[in-house]
Symmetry: D2
Amino acid sequence: MSDQSHLVPDTSTSGRVLEFDFPGLEIGVAQYAEGPTGATVFRFVDKAVGAVDVRGGAPGAYNVDWLRWGYGWPNLDALVVSGGSWYGLAASGGVAGALKEDGHRSGHWANLAHVAGAIIYDFGQRRPNEIHPDEKLGAAALRAAKAGRFPQGANGAGRMTMQGSYFGLWLHSGQGGAFRQVGETKIACFAVGNSVGAVADRDGRLRFGNQTIPTGESGIRDLVELVPKDVETVDGSILGERRSSVPPSAQNTTISLVVTNRKLEYAELQRLAVQVHTSMGRAIQPFGTLNDGDVLFAASTGEVDSSDLHPTDLGTVASEVMWDAILASVPDVPDASMTASGLSLPPDPTEVVGRYSFGNELSMDVGVAEGRLTLTNTGGRDIFGVRPGESLAALSDREALCTTQSLFLPAFGFAENDSRRRLVLNPGPWQQAGTATR
Amino acid sequence: MSDQSHLVPDTSTSGRVLEFDFPGLEIGVAQYAEGPTGATVFRFVDKAVGAVDVRGGAPGAYNVDWLRWGYGWPNLDALVVSGGSWYGLAASGGVAGALKEDGHRSGHWANLAHVAGAIIYDFGQRRPNEIHPDEKLGAAALRAAKAGRFPQGANGAGRMTMQGSYFGLWLHSGQGGAFRQVGETKIACFAVGNSVGAVADRDGRLRFGNQTIPTGESGIRDLVELVPKDVETVDGSILGERRSSVPPSAQNTTISLVVTNRKLEYAELQRLAVQVHTSMGRAIQPFGTLNDGDVLFAASTGEVDSSDLHPTDLGTVASEVMWDAILASVPDVPDASMTASGLSLPPDPTEVVGRYSFGNELSMDVGVAEGRLTLTNTGGRDIFGVRPGESLAALSDREALCTTQSLFLPAFGFAENDSRRRLVLNPGPWQQAGTATR
Amino acid sequence: MSDQSHLVPDTSTSGRVLEFDFPGLEIGVAQYAEGPTGATVFRFVDKAVGAVDVRGGAPGAYNVDWLRWGYGWPNLDALVVSGGSWYGLAASGGVAGALKEDGHRSGHWANLAHVAGAIIYDFGQRRPNEIHPDEKLGAAALRAAKAGRFPQGANGAGRMTMQGSYFGLWLHSGQGGAFRQVGETKIACFAVGNSVGAVADRDGRLRFGNQTIPTGESGIRDLVELVPKDVETVDGSILGERRSSVPPSAQNTTISLVVTNRKLEYAELQRLAVQVHTSMGRAIQPFGTLNDGDVLFAASTGEVDSSDLHPTDLGTVASEVMWDAILASVPDVPDASMTASGLSLPPDPTEVVGRYSFGNELSMDVGVAEGRLTLTNTGGRDIFGVRPGESLAALSDREALCTTQSLFLPAFGFAENDSRRRLVLNPGPWQQAGTATR
Amino acid sequence: MSDQSHLVPDTSTSGRVLEFDFPGLEIGVAQYAEGPTGATVFRFVDKAVGAVDVRGGAPGAYNVDWLRWGYGWPNLDALVVSGGSWYGLAASGGVAGALKEDGHRSGHWANLAHVAGAIIYDFGQRRPNEIHPDEKLGAAALRAAKAGRFPQGANGAGRMTMQGSYFGLWLHSGQGGAFRQVGETKIACFAVGNSVGAVADRDGRLRFGNQTIPTGESGIRDLVELVPKDVETVDGSILGERRSSVPPSAQNTTISLVVTNRKLEYAELQRLAVQVHTSMGRAIQPFGTLNDGDVLFAASTGEVDSSDLHPTDLGTVASEVMWDAILASVPDVPDASMTASGLSLPPDPTEVVGRYSFGNELSMDVGVAEGRLTLTNTGGRDIFGVRPGESLAALSDREALCTTQSLFLPAFGFAENDSRRRLVLNPGPWQQAGTATR
């Protein structure tokens, strides 16, 4: 709802990095910290043959039709995954434009940049603003692309994603990658996870980084089998409103990518896409639902033309690599001692009382009630699930990191910056900071 | 390779039966015992809205295009699954013809029989003949259809199926069904399993009835993770040639069906198909490969128009019901004492020496070498993996049920019938009997 | 609504024949004269690469999904077009079975018969019975297949088709073929025309053989531009009820086929299918409607691998060849002197008064009113548009060939056969004969 | 190949305007004069149900997958057509962003802007620069949108298009619209024509505005029937290299749109798309080729829910309206006296000799040879078909408007502006002006 011209792309990364050996595949990320939101670009320096499998009920895809016609020659320059729901498709346009502007491609019919892309939804309860990846962010991600490194977790398109909302979990997610080489055949898989379903490992255990999961340790099987009962019946947790919170169409999605250097016929590549996409129903449950916009891209750089790996074996191995990529997408969540770093509460808590503006029609009033700090949404829109006019109280009365009972706004705190006091919601990688208005 | 006019459909069933409550859904099976091979018909007495998801690399489908156009009114009369690979599609034609001949439908444009169908491959190493379901068999299965009962295992289209060939397992499979009701919403799932992948339960254990599995007890996870190494490396079993035996396109398939009485928009029904089909990648691994011709049909009889079950919940529950159906598809395999029943070996084993004819260019010579009975393929084609000219020896020298080291022909024996001696290969539900020629 | 076991396929042809040079492409037709209805088989003796474009709103297609996966190797054995609406798909099954029974193909995974097919609707007002092509008819058509000859008009699947019903014209149609060679590249196109739209030549003139068209000579452009007004406004013809007679879904269809010996990538073949199918909107107007089930198959036998004809040129030339094929599909209609041959009226017309049975719940009573012969439908179903209980009067009182004002039953007469008198409706190629019951 | 940040969208229009009555449908255009290139936005103020039919061999489409899933509720906000080949898809992103920025839509899942789009190729011989529609241009076109008016010809996405290149014609084209109302049902059709094929009217005459067509007056039928011979054989025209100039994939496209206020089921809307798209093979020949990226969108605003127009009638009428729209897309071409306006040649022609820079690596040297002015391409890239190093001579020696034999650069002249002399290539709506460097 506001002009994005002042935003500056940030191409730094944080957290774990996958290092892998795949010359010709360059990966870059860029983020708008103010979202946060981001985009991830996978560039095939010498083009690749591409295929696509669109499966979810609410897809947003960019320039994918050509990939369906069965052409067998390498034409694909880049795949772009971005946040921002349908608005974020603009980032793909920025990647194409930058490939031309930088002289890699041109308007000549034989040298067009072929860029395809897909998006995930990272608005709503994930973050209380509507900043979206755009041309500028896409171009920045492209220009930051390098071979051999993929930043895991809350980077690029995975900057502000969540998984498990179907079960009311709303666990932080991100982007993940994994790599395996069989003989000469390289297989790299990547996933940006924002699924309605929850991520599970090969033992069926939920994967949620080091977040505190608001239910017991029940595995995915237990959760799934309870459907359609409300999940609260598992263990009396706070997950009482799963049913009413079943997310509507267009709120969730997993975008994934399997890349190989193995030369494949187009039909084989398409079959690889279908097999791997289907296999992902193991790592994410449920998967491919009406509420997801799942898209899988398959790409072959075609450097290795061997027959020592049957295409079905390739698909089976790639399915395992993809499972690893999905598991790697779940970011480590800093613990309280880390997120509290930099936060402080004055000796007299009433000093922080006042209105804090987050811009964009959003503001929170800090008050005190029954000796504890309270937050009241005084803006015009939801903030992390707090509706306009609603309040939320800190659980304790005197901690630098104030915790709450809210699933979407479990913590807040205060910081000084440029001698302005700031209210920091959800301190840590996904925080939102508002500035005191008085 | 021969005229089928003398074959008589057999509509009897054997083994477990699923009983369930779904008025308006009638199911019938018919088999040609001479194959064996068969067909299963699912009839919607008052028509249904249908959708289809074709996913495998080698599909064979009958009249499914109309199901893709998005029409929302109930028009589907029957779904037919049959053996016989592409030849077996003829059974679907027989069902349509019988609906007209019996007066249920006509040539009037508003009363046409809409029958769709799909097939599985049950030739090759599964059985040494090429009998296929045809018009006559399809019509018989339709006319045997009844509500409320579904025969599990080696019946109908599942009469001669196998699963797990990707791992060299070649385990007997069949057709399975499961049912669940949530409030008023009925969900019935059916699967005819003939997958290249192996069937696994929710704990990852292979499901193989009471067959002797020629490998250890490793679960599906262990098998999958070994790919692309040969499976023999697991435990030194006889499965040394998995790689070379990776079945080519068109040899494998799972055909499945999810039926609900819940009224759904066409788009919702199609999403249900996609979600459930994707979920099957858990129960069958690998799934949806280049080597499979997987097709899932979804059908709604539309009797219940409630909103108390979100379509995604419906998909999640149906995915579990489908897993149960797949598990139910694996038939119990009679143990040796049962399959040996009726077999006998004369006191002087040399009495059984001679040539036995199976018709259709097939014959086996029984001989004796080093004190043990031997089988030599003296016909023009493979018989259960024994090539023309090849021999196979019994492991022991004097049992009514002679066992061998062969994966595809693990046992044989002799029986008297009409005072003709018969050589019975693989005694039991999937046996082939040849008659002494002298 | 009756058993078809007594019917005997007729593989003879009548009318014009296209002779052309395309080794390896064999074509056969078979008909049930009792319908009449029929099937046409196009066999690729050494297999072909196939593609399909399903466009109409009411398709009926057999085993076409494999053709969509993009495989580039020749696997297609035969394409089958048949009458009988969805029931007629059974003929495709018969072709596959016969290829196996005759030893051309087998159950071996590498030697399966790949047969695909599609149907047209030739029931309803076209003929008052519901006989449909079945396994037996398909097999007969296959076995009659020969290279180099294609019977035009009312043969095979085109035996009982009509075009132009959208404009109330109901003109006899059929199957047409055309051939052209450019350098080494052979292009053969075939169409079985049963379209809701009317056939037009390159000058926009309606093509209706030598039938009497019940409207003026207005070209297709005039007819189309009048929509949605009733066509009667053109010239006061009897076509007053076009609107109410807009045929519902599933009553009309054009099935077409473009075959070349030019080696093409799968993607090129698919593009050829799309281009040619689109071009057919010139020769048939309207085309590809909700009411048609149009399917176009493209096949390449791959013998010529030259680049001297750009794929788009190939598409453009093939589009013209297809137009010629469509024009050739319109059969010559025998004139009255010919159709009257064999008919006779006794000196005392009252001798023919009585009931004539056509079987299958159908009967007509011949009477006399105001000096002219009348027909009254005394059966349970429509006969050529005459409803049960309705009557129709001859226009003149004493001609061997009695003509009427009916669009669907414009003529009738009487013949003696085996000393039984017969009432012949629509004498000529599309006649129905009933036998005097007393 | 250069930054576009300095470009300013121009939302003015020129030429004929279609006025029509369709409340709720707003149309806006924007151009970059420096291209020229542009975009056209069709906005559905209250959303619409959308469908898409992608048919050409080289499509570029934006966010169309959701339109394929069969959802029946109105969700589509805008359709965007733009120049710039795949780069121009960025304009669609700009439209989505502007809908959010302007407060029409938001990031709330129930209020997302659903924008879909498609592009045409207007680089290459059409204009010697690579400026493409981007976010900024798309946003400008949206904000200029108004109801009831559609600028015909060289406006918006049709700013720099050509048709007929398949026949070597390279005729100026543009965007066209037409409207018809039948009872309450409104039907508006729009087409942006950039087809490889040539535009023909209902009499088969080529439609080329008032351009001089470099061949005789042969109709489309004559041209098509000559394929694959070179078109020069028609009349000895300069069109000798049609074959070698058959444009490769991705150079041509027709994007079209049919909009109705008639409430339609999704399936009916999709059938409408298919029928109308197919019908366009009459107005553009050839159509839907490998070399085109044709996309048709269908949209229903759903205000009129009547049954007095059968969906097939709607399709037939809309097909005629679309033909009118295509004919309207061909712009009037200013005649020489108009394009010469503002041009002047000094008494001493040698005064204009020198180098003229067009920026972006492009320059032309003007010289004199044999008494006539010559142009020599001294830049690094083609300019209107003149290769680097090649020269072109004026036909006459002393006209303000110098004409040449070139198909792509038929005229040039000189003008003074800001006391700098400029070389104007192809004076008129599609001109390129270079500035004297000395």
